[in-house]
C-alpha cells in the first residue's frame, strides 16, 4: 500500500519533470509551463501550511510571513548582493525556518494559547515584517528589488523551463514530506495534538518539540517556494509580498482539499488555481475573490472535512464525471480550450464528490478517519472478550507495600487569590491503592494535575524515585511513570479505540513502532474489556466504555502510578462494579493507584489507604475503616450538625 503510493508519487513526479523536454514534440504551448509553475507554487504553499495547521489544528494566518521571508532572502542576497541565485533557495528555507522557530518558540510557550490566539498572533507577524522591511534600507527601504535571471544549464530550453522545474522540485519536496510525516510517529503526534493536546502530553508525547518541528518544516518549505516565486516574478515589493493573499489562498485550498490528508492541499491548490486562471481568462476577474469567499463559507458550514475524505467512498463516480465532462467538451468542441474543459471537469468532479447523500456508516467513518491508514492485518482470532470480568478470581486488593514512588512535599497551589491546595505532603508506595476523597472543591483534581505535571505547584516539591520532577513537562513525568485519566473522557476522536491505546504505547517509556503498538494494544484492551470495540471510533461507544478507554490508554504508557480522576463518575451501579473490577486488575498487574472517588463504597473495597482533603488541606489519612469513622471527616462530608 505505502510502497505503491510512493511509487505512484515518483512516477507522477518523473512525468511532470519530463514536460520541458517533451513539450515541443507534443506541441504543448509555453503557457502551460507558466500555468504549471503557478500550480506547483500553490501546491507547495498549501501543503506547507497544512503540515503545521492542518495536522496540528493550529490555524496559522502567518503563511505570508514565511513565504515573504523566503522571497526577500533570495531577493536581497541574489538581487542586491549578487550571490548565486541557486544557493539562495536553501538559504531562504533556513531563514524562514528560523523565523518559524522564533514564532513557535514564543507562541507555543504561551500558557493561555488557544487556536484563536495563535491565529491572531500569526496574523500580526507579516505586518511586523513588512514594516521592518520598509524601514530597513538594507532589505528593501520601500523601492522594491529586481532579481536577475541566473545562468542556467543549456539543456533547458528557456527561463520558463527553469522556473517550472524549480517550482516542481519544491512542490514535490513538500508533498513528499507531508506524505512521510503523515505515515510516521511525527504525524501521529501531530494528530494527537490536534485531537487533545494536553492528553497527548500526559501520555508521553513531547508536544512542544513536535509542534516546533512542524512549524520549522512548514516555514522552510514556504520560504523555499517563496524564493522560487521571487525569481519567477523578477521584481519584489513589500506590498506585493506581505499581504493576506497567501494566507487566504492556502486556507481555502486546504479546507477544500481536506486538511487530514497529505494530498488534500495539493488537490485544493490545483482546483483553485485552475478556476482562478479560467475565471480571469473569461473576464470574471472581479468575481474571483467573491467565489473564493463563498467556497470557504460553504465548505466550513457544509463539508469541513474536505474533498479527500469525500473521495474515498466515491472515487469511481467522481473520476467518471470528470472524464465524461472533459470528453464531451473535447469531442463536441463547441466551446473553449483544453484548460477550460479541464476546469469544468474539475468543478464537475467536486460537485459529485460533495453531493449530499445519505451517508453510510462506512463513509462517515472514512470521513472521520481522514487519511489515517486503517489497520491492515487484523489478527484477533475472536472478537469476543476472552477475559470476562466475572470469571476472574477477585481476591481483596492486598499486595505487599513497597518502596515509595511519588513523594510530594508541602505542595501548595494558588489560583489567583484562591488556595486550591495548601501544604499537602503525600507519598505513594509501590503496591498501594490510595483513595483520595473529599468534598467538591477540596483540591483532589488539582492534586492529580500537580502529580501528573499538567499544572505546576506554587510551592513545594514532587519527587519520583527520589529525583525532583518539578518544572518538567508532563510527558517527562509520563516517562517517569505517572499516568492519569480525566474525569470527563478525552479520547483522540479521529482515531479508533485501538489506535488511542497504540499511541500511548508508541510514545511511552520505550518508543515502539506503530505496528508493534497496535499489536500490544490488544492486551490493554483485554484488561479493561474493550477488545470487541477495538476498531470503533470513540464517538461510537458509550460513556462507561470511554472511561474504560481512558484507563486502557493510561496503563498503555506502562505507568508505575496510575492517577484515576473520578473514573466512575456518572456510571450506573452495574457499570461501577465492572469498573471496580478493572481497577482491581490494574492494581494486580503491579501498578500503584491513586483513586479519586466519591463513591465511598468502592473506596472502602479497593483502597489500602485513604487520604481525605478538605479545603486544600490534608484532613485525615489512614486505614479506610478508621478514616471513615474520624469525626472531622464526617463533619467535612455531612456538615457540622451531623456529628453533634
Amino acid at each position: 500500500m505505502a510502497r505503491r503510493t510512493l511509487l505512484a508519487l515518483a512516477v507522477a513526479f518523473a512525468v511532470l519533470a519530463a514536460v520541458p523536454w517533451i513539450r515541443e514534440p507534443l506541441g504543448v504551448p509555453v503557457f502551460y509551463l507558466a500555468f504549471g509553475a503557478l500550480v506547483f507554487f500553490w501546491v507547495a504553499q498549501a501543503t506547507s501550511w497544512n503540515l503545521l495547521s492542518g495536522y496540528t489544528g493550529y490555524f496559522s494566518f502567518g503563511q505570508g510571513a514565511f513565504f515573504g521571508v523566503g522571497v526577500y532572502t533570495s531577493a536581497v542576497l541574489s538581487g542586491r548582493g549578487g550571490m548565486d541565485y541557486f544557493l539562495t533557495i536553501p538559504l531562504a528555507g533556513i531563514v524562514a525556518a528560523l523565523l518559524g522557530l522564533a514564532v513557535g518558540g514564543v507562541a507555543f510557550r504561551l500558557r493561555s494559547l488557544r487556536g484563536e490566539i495563535f491565529a491572531l498572533l500569526t496574523l500580526a507577524v507579516p505586518f511586523i515584517l513588512a514594516s521592518f522591511a520598509r524601514i530597513n534600507t538594507a532589505i528593501d527601504g520601500g523601492q522594491g528589488i529586481v532579481l536577475r535571471i541566473p545562468e542556467f544549464p543549456e539543456f533547458l530550453g528557456g527561463f520558463q523551463d527553469l522556473a517550472y522545474l524549480l517550482s516542481l522540485g519544491v512542490a514535490g519536496l513538500a508533498v513528499g514530506i507531508a506524505y512521510v510525516a503523515q505515515h510516521s510517529r511525527f504525524g501521529w503526534a501531530l494528530f494527537a495534538i490536534r485531537d487533545a493536546e494536553n492528553v497527548a502530553e500526559g501520555l508521553g508525547v513531547p508536544t512542544f518539540g513536535y509542534k516546533m518541528l512542524a512549524i520549522g518544516l512548514s516555514a522552510a518549505l514556504a520560504g523555499m517556494a517563496g524564493s522560487v516565486f521571487a525569481l519567477q516574478i523578477g521584481f519584489v515589493t513589500v506590498e506585493g509580498t506581505f499581504n493576506l493573499t497567501v494566507p487566504l489562498f492556502v486556507i481555502v485550498m486546504s479546507v477544500l482539499g481536506g486538511r487530514m490528508h497529505w494530498l488534500g492541499p495539493a488537490l485544493g491548490a490545483l482546483i483553485i488555481v485552475t478556476l482562478q486562471d479560467r475565471l480571469a481568462a473569461q473576464g470574471f476577474e472581479g468575481y474571483s475573490l467573491i467565489i473564493l469567499g463563498a467556497i470557504l463559507v460553504s465548505l466550513v458550514l457544509l463539508a469541513p472535512e474536505g474533498l479527500m475524505a469525500r473521495l474515498r467512498p466515491r472515487l469511481l463516480p467522481v473520476v467518471a464525471a470528470a472524464g465524461a465532462v472533459y470528453l464531451a467538451l473535447a469531442v463536441t468542441g463547441v466551446w473553449g480550450a483544453p484548460l477550460d474543459w479541464f476546469a469544468v471537469a474539475l468543478v464537475a468532479a467536486a460537485v459529485v464528490a460533495f453531493w449530499p447523500r445519505r451517508r453510510t456508516v462506512a463513509a462517515a467513518r472514512a470521513a472521520a478517519l481522514g487519511g489515517i491508514a486503517p489497520v491492515e492485518e487484523v489478527e484477533d482470532e475472536d472478537l469476543t472478550d476472552t477475559a470476562a470480568p466475572e470469571a476472574l478470581p477477585t481476591p481483596p486488593a492486598e499486595r505487599a507495600i513497597g518502596r515509595p514512588i511519588i513523594e510530594a512535599h508541602d505542595l501548595t497551589r494558588h489560583f489567583g487569590g484562591i488556595r486550591a491546595l495548601d501544604g499537602i505532603s503525600l507519598t505513594i508506595h509501590e503496591g498501594e491503592v490510595v483513595g483520595l476523597v473529599g468534598p467538591n472543591g477540596s483540591g483532589k483534581t488539582t492534586l492529580v494535575n500537580l502529580l501528573s505535571g499538567a499544572l505546576r505547584p506554587t510551592s513545594g516539591d514532587i519527587r519520583i524515585d527520589g529525583r525532583s520532577v518539578l518544572g518538567l513537562p508532563a510527558h517527562r513525568l509520563a516517562h517517569a511513570g505517572a499516568a492519569r485519566t480525566y474525569q470527563i473522557p478525552r479520547p483522540f476522536g479521529s482515531m479508533t479505540v485501538r489506535d488511542n491505546v497504540a499511541i500511548a504505547i508508541m510514545f511511552g517509556r520505550e518508543a515502539a513502532s506503530l505496528a508493534t503498538a497496535r499489536r500490544e494494544a490488544r492486551q490493554h484492551l483485554e484488561l479493561v474489556g474493550l477488545v470487541r470495540h477495538a476498531d470503533a471510533l470513540p464517538g461510537e461507544i458509550n460513556l462507561h466504555e470511554r472511561q474504560l478507554l481512558e484507563i486502557a490508554r493510561a496503563i498503555a504508557t506502562r505507568p508505575r502510578v496510575l492517577l484515576l480522576d473520578e473514573a466512575l463518575a456518572g456510571l450506573n451501579p452495574a457499570e461501577i462494579d465492572n469498573a471496580a473490577g478493572v481497577v482491581r486488575r490494574v492494581h494486580e498487574s503491579g501498578i500503584a493507584i491513586v483513586l479519586v472517588e466519591h463513591v465511598l463504597r468502592i473506596v472502602n473495597q479497593l483502597a489500602t489507604r485513604v487520604v481525605v482533603l478538605d479545603q486544600g488541606r490534608l484532613l485525615a489519612e489512614g486505614e479506610p475503616a478508621d478514616v471513615m469513622r474520624n469525626a472531622d471527616v464526617v463533619r467535612a462530608y455531612l456538615g457540622r450538625r451531623a456529628h453533634a
Binding site: 500558557r111 484563536e116 496574523l123 524601514i135 486556507i251
Partner: protein, 289 residues
Amino acid sequence: MIILQAAFSGILVGGLYALMAIGLSLTWGMLKVINLAHFGMILLSAYLTYAIATGLGIDPLLTIVATAPVMFVLAAALQWAFQRFRVSEFNSLLISFGVLIMLVQTISNVWTADFRRLGSDVNPYSSGALSIGPLAFPMPTLLAFVTALALVIALELALERTFAGRAVRAFSEDPPIAAAFGIDHRRIGILLAGVAGVTAALAGMLFAIGGSMTPSTALEWVGLVFAVVILGGIGNVAGTLLAGALVGIVTGLVTVLWSPSAAPLVVFSIVVLALLFRPRGLIPRGGTT
C-alpha cells in the same frame, strides 16, 4: 512640545481604533464569535458615507441615519446564520473571513480600487481643528474619540443596568444556567450583534470623515484593531478605549521619534508581550477563574 502633540494626537487616533474594536470585542467576549466581517462592515459604512454624502451633498454625519440600520441588519443576519448553523468559535473566524473578502471584492467592483476621499465641499470637518494652547486637535479624530468615549459609557451602563445587558453577561459566563433562567440567548445574541453592527457604522463614518480609503484598507486594520481587542481584554468595552489610546500614543510617539513604518513593529511587540504576561488584557476584570 512636538512629542506632547504627538501623544495627544495619538490618543485621539486611538479613539478610532477603539471604535473599530468595540463591536469586535463585544461579540467575541459575549457571543464567542470572532467576526472578521466586522472590518468589511466598517469599510462598507465608510464607502456608503462617502457615496451618500457626495451624491446628496449632505453633511457626512447625517449618513449614519442610513448606515446604522443597514449595518444593524447585516450584522444581525450574520449572527442569525452563526446561531442557525451552530458555528464554533474557531469556524466563525474562517466563515467571517470568507464574508470579509466577499465584501471587499464587492466594494472594489462597485467603487473601483482607486483611493476615495470625501470632497471638502461636503466634509466641513476635514480641515477643522480644536486648539487648546499650543496643542491642536484635528476635528475628525476628535469626533472619533468623543464618539468612542460616549459609546463606551453607554455600553457599560447598558451592560450594567438593563435587563438585556445583564442577560448578555449572564449568558456569556454560563450559557446553560442562563438558559435555565429563561434567557433566550438567540434573540439577545442577534440584538448584541446588531449593536456591534451599529458601532461598525459609526466607525466607518468617522473613518470616512478623516481619511481616504481603498478596498484593501479593511485588511490593514485587522492587525491593529485585534491588538486593541486583545490588549483591552476580550469582551471588555472600557478596556478597548484604554488599549486604543495606548496603541495610539505608542504609534504617535514612534512615528515622531523613529519612523512611521516602525510603529507596527513596536505595537505588535507589545501585543506579543501582553499575550505572554497579561493574557486576560492589560486590566483584568473581576475575580472569576
